[in-house]
Subunit: 225 residues, 2 copies
């Protein structure tokens, strides 16, 4: 599978926010590192939104209660290195989503007050934050539902996108939720694509074998074979 690693931010001198803070020139960065293991919960929907987070390394899922039963929440986005989490802290009192690490992550954390102060004190700060927010939202394509192609089409699109963004390794249940289908349906779609040799699947990995054919499937063209 072709794989381009998502931007991974290690030192603060190569981090968008660190640069904006002028860390290389001795500037103080209000954001402090916080490593978390896979599975950790970073914040919970509804709790007071006091901190903004920046993903330095790893992947984080955002899920929101769907309003039905109590435990009924829907994972609707994945955020990777370079994006901000919990920016709602800047405009409201509580978090809208629950953020969970899907891999081991390193996030940088700053309180709302610190962020506010930082934006006032450094001209580039506001711009850096704005860019992170806008980029994150540009990145997540609107979730697709069944009226926009059947399961196989959506899976094919996902695999093609993923090939260039390193989404590999997400649990199947998460991927299924992102694609608006059940894990069973995802599994069947993968199996069907695998049977046609367009991809190779193991329990943990998916490998794209035939990009062109996959693009046809994603486009809804039915190969007559």
């Amino acid at each position: 599978m072709v794989r381009r690693l998502a931007e991974s931010v290690n030192g603060c001198t190569s981090c968008r926010l660190g640069i904006a803070a002028g860390v290389a020139a001795g500037g103080r960065c209000p954001w402090v590192d916080m490593p978390r293991p896979a599975g950790a919960c970073l914040y919970v929907a509804g709790e007071p939104a006091e901190r903004v987070l920046f993903v330095k390394r790893g992947a984080v899922t955002l899920s929101r209660e769907s309003g039905r039963g109590r435990d009924d929440e829907v994972t609707w986005a994945v955020r990777r290195s370079g994006s901000l989490l919990g920016v709602e802290a800047l405009v409201r009192d509580s978090y809208l989503d629950t953020a969970r690490a899907v891999t081991d992550v390193v996030v940088c954390v700053a309180s709302r007050a610190d962020v506010d102060a930082w934006m006032r004190s450094r001209e580039q700060a506001g711009r850096a934050i704005l860019e992170c927010v806008v980029l994150a939202h540009c990145a997540d394509a609107p979730r697709r539902s069944s009226s926009e192609g059947n399961a196989e089409e959506r899976v094919a699109s996902w695999l093609l996108e993923q090939a260039s963004d390193g989404s590999a390794g997400l649990p199947r249940t998460v991927v299924a939720a992102l694609l608006g289908m059940l894990p069973e349906t995802l599994s069947r779609a993968l199996a069907s694509l695998a049977a046609r040799r367009l991809i190779a699947v193991s329990r943990k990995h998916v490998e794209v074998l035939d990009v062109e054919a996959l693009e046809q499937v994603a486009a809804g063209e039915r190969p007559k074979a």
Copy 2:
């Protein structure tokens, strides 16, 4: 139906951006009014992103090509008074979405360069823009797909949300797209709810009659009647 009108911005002195620009104190606002009739296209996905727009009055839909056939685009969000459109102009070269006025609208327009200059020259400008962007994204709930409740449930949720945000009057086809279903399915769901006296539907309007019962439906509880 309970209806709270979306914030409507008439004079620049009551507009978030106008305030940030200090219009009341004689400040120059880089944003210039542009009225457009319902149905007008404000910008098209893929074309060079040179301008950022601010919705002063009215409603605008955003749609994105789904990657399948050529004319195959999916309306995935509605933006109302007080939100910014086309902020991708700040971070990329082309628009991601196509923006179309669903009602008569008044939008304020500024070129990317003007916005950049404005943000550098006025401290409050960046903050105002950031808030508009974040608020807009907080407002749009992730689209639901069939695995998150059947058509009736999703329609019920929508009606309840809409009751407090003035989404009334959108064409059925648009609403259907936002709910991830076909117009036919939406129509049937509305008819079914109307048959049970939870709502009253006419060709142009939908009125909620029984909020509690509707909440039950939205929550997936099946009334045994």
